[in-house]
Every structure is written in structure tokens, then in C-alpha cells.
Symmetry: C2
Subunit: 355 residues, 2 copies
Amino acid sequence: MKILNVELGDRSYPIYIGRGHLEDKKIITRHIKTKTICIVSNTTVSKLYLENLKNILDGYQVVEAIIDDGEEYKNHDSLNHIYTKLLENQCNRDTTILALGGGVVGDIAGYAAASFLRGIPFIQIPTTLLAQVDSSVGGKTGINHLLGKNMIGAFYQPQAVVIDLNVLKTLDNRQISAGLAEVIKYGLIWDKDFFKYLENNIENLKQKDFEHLGEVIYRSCEVKAKVVSEDEKESGIRAILNLGHTFGHAIENCLGYGEWLHGEAVGCGMVLAARVSLVHGWLTESEFDRIKNLIFQANLPIEKPNISYEDFIGAMKLDKKNKDKDIYLVLQQGIGKAIVTNNYSSSALAEVIKS
Amino acid sequence: MKILNVELGDRSYPIYIGRGHLEDKKIITRHIKTKTICIVSNTTVSKLYLENLKNILDGYQVVEAIIDDGEEYKNHDSLNHIYTKLLENQCNRDTTILALGGGVVGDIAGYAAASFLRGIPFIQIPTTLLAQVDSSVGGKTGINHLLGKNMIGAFYQPQAVVIDLNVLKTLDNRQISAGLAEVIKYGLIWDKDFFKYLENNIENLKQKDFEHLGEVIYRSCEVKAKVVSEDEKESGIRAILNLGHTFGHAIENCLGYGEWLHGEAVGCGMVLAARVSLVHGWLTESEFDRIKNLIFQANLPIEKPNISYEDFIGAMKLDKKNKDKDIYLVLQQGIGKAIVTNNYSSSALAEVIKS
């Protein structure tokens, strides 16, 4: 087992990375100080792990709130289902929420924890690669609004993140690829050696080799923890974690949530961001090719879906990073470094979106 | 003009109390650092003050979100109306919300500010006595759930609270009385001299004498600011501000939101809490009579409405203060002091609810 710490003063918490954690009562309950537990999961994940998890939680009152599976259910109806389950079972502040699932479950469950009774504790138990390397760490919680992705939410940190590599056994290839998009992101924004490592090991990762998966999860969480510790509420550097997301959210929004997986949209978005960077000379042709190639090797889409320019730009204008009606983008400056800027050519952006 | 400060480190903010503030551009805009403003108000208050307010906000992009008037609209639909207005107008983090209205508007607008894009700034401009002395100060924001009052929300502090006494001119007597309930509360939990002052001046207050209203608003905000500074997130002493509210929320919940005003339910709730305290010998007969009498003089209900014991207790069990399935009550220990406790006789509670 490896342990990383997210340093945030009195809101600091550990990330446990290892195998078999879901069956380990000591690790699961180490950070539970309440008598009642509400497990939030979805219809897919609960079939696989809910009974096991409940078995090791003897001695606690356990409430379940199961939501539908998919980004299209990351909405107020699912959130309200959790509130209702909590209230029907007379849960009060003596309740910890366990988020058992992927990014959607983690984001909604975290937001339920942030907002129920103005805040109760929660623990992230991410069951997809994407959630393990990205969304479960850092305290971004929330839901989508019909008019924009992740528009409603809170910065609210968990008590702990418990990552069990074994759950990746049951994850299908499409979900592995979606998670690899966020893994590749860390190489692109922070660490060119890690990017090189990914180029060399992409086949091992796709084949779910546990040694390599453990390594990339650890290194990804390490970068994420460092960035979040420096800038919890995204007033500065944290925004680079959004590489590919301005484009990606627009794709998800225009196609309809759930059509593409979030990681797929981010993968494609990183290619589009790289293309804008290339036009500005911030990436060489060969760097651009390496980026596009790795994303392609990860079985992620590298071509923009068929969305009109107007719809695409309209969706991008809703991005949370924007100020003064300007669209802010995360762009590359070589491999391993990213900047957040509105200082790019809008015609270059238009060209990339129209191409 | 008087200024009080709520001391909360980097979340500290001023409360401005005076006359004519709503027409004073300097005071209204002193804490606005953004280019866009979203005014949240209700159908009643907006007719009276919205145009004036917009007139002094020239130079800003101004968006309006008007919700229906009444506690029964303190729900997700109203909240979502605000989100939609913000998104339709492409508002980003460069937006300040102005909450122009009573407690319902302040609570919903504050929660919209807390949750939109994971947090944007907001300013409270309370237009009812109740909101001026209580709900606009201290950062409790939120909405009701069908199964319980204020169950969903956040602790989220405003940039400033701007109290204009002049708005009380248009406030009807029932709303003044509702505000007086929270004013009386401060005397009961904190300051027996203030309670005495209220006994001596209740007629002046009911007749909206501005000198006396200004005095009680200042003294009420002073107590509230002090308690909130000590315990922002209600892990201890802040809970005494809930005197009368455990009973009051149950009344509102059982009768249906909006049937009684919040202040009316709290007024009656304080009589019920005093009655439980009396049974335990924590109030003398004469103290109990003074409490009941002042609440009666303020034109507030002192008799519990017709609600069955089971329904009443069921609603009280949902209170946020509760732990371990115990109902925690705020009870008097004489006039001017209150405690939060589960150490009371449940048969005394039953007797009071059944009487």
C-alpha cells in the first residue's frame, strides 16, 4: 500500500492506493467517526461491490442511495434522490457518505455531503481509473445543469480517498481509455518524463497490467495533490488541470451528456488544445504528433465530432475559467508545461473548431 | 450610519446599518469587484425597489432573477430559476449576486452564490426586519426540502450586509412582528437587559419608530456577529441561536411552508421551549409569564397550532442539531441564558407538545 497526503491545513487528507482495500475494514472505516453511513453508488457498481462493502460495515447503521449509471444522470434528480434517502432514514450530522463509484458518483455524492445539513463528512472510494487518478482527489464536487457541465457545486474535501486497484479488473476497455485521458493530461501539463513513460507503456496500461496501473495512479495523484495543495479553490495554477476540458465540456454539452464519456471528450479536447498551441508555435510539429499519437494509442477519439462552430463556441463561452466574456484556454508550451491564457489568436481557435 | 464587523479572518465583512442606503451608490457598490451583477429578489420586493437599485448600478451589466414571494417557494425550483438566469446571461465568476429581499430571498440567493460555479461573491440587502436582525448575518444559506426545512445549504459568507431602515416603512405589521420574534430571541439567549428594553419599548417597535428599530437592529446584529465569529459552522455555541427553531421548524413543516411566517413559528416555538424549561425549574413562573407576555405583545402566536403529537415529534426528529436519534433542544436557564441539551425529560416535552 502507498499513501499520499493532500496538504490543506485542517482539511488535509490521505489517499490510500493498493489492492484489496474494499475488503479491508480497517482502511475503509479508519476515517469514519459517525454511527451512520450512507453509501452512494450507481446501478452498475452496486451490483459488483455493495454487498461486500456492507458486510464489512457491521456495527454501523447503513443507508443506501443508488443512482442511475452515466453522465446524463449527474443532475439534480439524482442529487435529490440522495437527499430523500438521507431524510427518510432520519440521517443527521452523525452520518458519513461513502461515494462508491466513478466520477459521476463521486461528484454527486461529494456535493450531497457538502450541502446536506450544510455539510457532513464523506469518503471517496473511486471505482474507475478516471475517478482514481482525477475526480476523487481535490474536492471538486457538483452536478451538471441543462445549460452547462459542472455549473453547480462546491469545493468540499473528503476525509480520505481509498483507491483499490482490484476494481479495475471489472472495468471495460472504454472506461480504461477514458481514465488514460486524464493520466496523459498530467504528463502534458506537468511532467515530460511521465509522458515518455506513458508512450513506452501504453500497451501495458491498456491491458490492465496492475504494476503499471499502480504506478500511473500514484504519479497522477501525486501531481493532482501537489497542484490542489497550492491552489485549492482554483484562483491560479489549479486551472491547468483543465487542459482539454474547455473543449471537452463543450463536446459533452453539445452531444448531450453521456454520449461520449468524459475522458473521451477530454482526450479529443487535448488534441484540439494542442492544435491551437501548434498554430501559435508553442508546440513543434513533432511534439504535436506525439501528443495526438499517444491519445490515439489510448483508443481515444482525436477528431472533433460533428458540431457547428456556433454551438461549439457557445458552449465554450460557459466555461468557469472565463472572465469578461473572453474564453480562457489551457494551452501547451511544449510537452510537460501548460498555461491558462486568453492571449491566443481567436482566428486560430476558430480554424481548429471549424476544421 | 453604524457599522458592525463580523470577524471571520479572511471571510470577515461589515454590516452597514442606516437610512437611505438603498439609494447610495457608494455603499451598495463598495464591495462589488465584478463587472456583472445579478439581482435576486421576489415579486413583491422587486416592485418596490428594483428600478431604484438598477438606476444606481449604471456601468455594470445587470441581470435579474425574480422568484415568487413566500417560504413555500424556498425550494429547488426557485434556486434553479436563478441558475438558469445566470447561465442564459453567460454569467461567470466575474459576477456578484445582490440578495434584495427577506429571509427567503437571502437564503436562496446566498446558496445560489455558494453553489454557482462552486462559489461567486454576494451581498445581502435585507428588506424585512427578520432578515435584517437575523438571517442576513452569519452565512447560513440554503433551501427547504419537502421532508425538512433548511435541509440543503452551505455556510457561505457575504461580502457585506447593507441594512436600510427605510425599507421597513413598507413592511406590514405581520412581518414586523415576525422580525420581533428573532429580536426577542437575542434578549432571551444573551442579554436580560435587552429583554427588559424590549418589554419597555414593544409598543414603539410595533409602531415602527425608527429610533427604536435602529437600536434593536444594531443590538441584535451585534449579538449575532459575536456568536457567529466564535462558532461559524455551529459546532458549539452558535446552536443557541436556534432557540424556538426546533419547535418552529416542526410547525412550519407540519402546517406546510408559508402557512405561518417563520418568525411566527419561532415566536410560538420560544413559548414552547420556555414551557419545557419551566417544567424543569430552569425558569420561574414569573419569568415564563414575562416571556409569554412579551411574545404575545409582539402579536405573535403563543399557542401551538393543531398538529398531532406524532407528526410534531416526527418533524422535530429531523432537526439538524440532533445526534444519535436524540432530539436536542435549546432551553432557557433564566432570561438571558440558553443551553443546547438532550438532558431534559422527554415526558415533559411530550406534555408540552400534547397540551
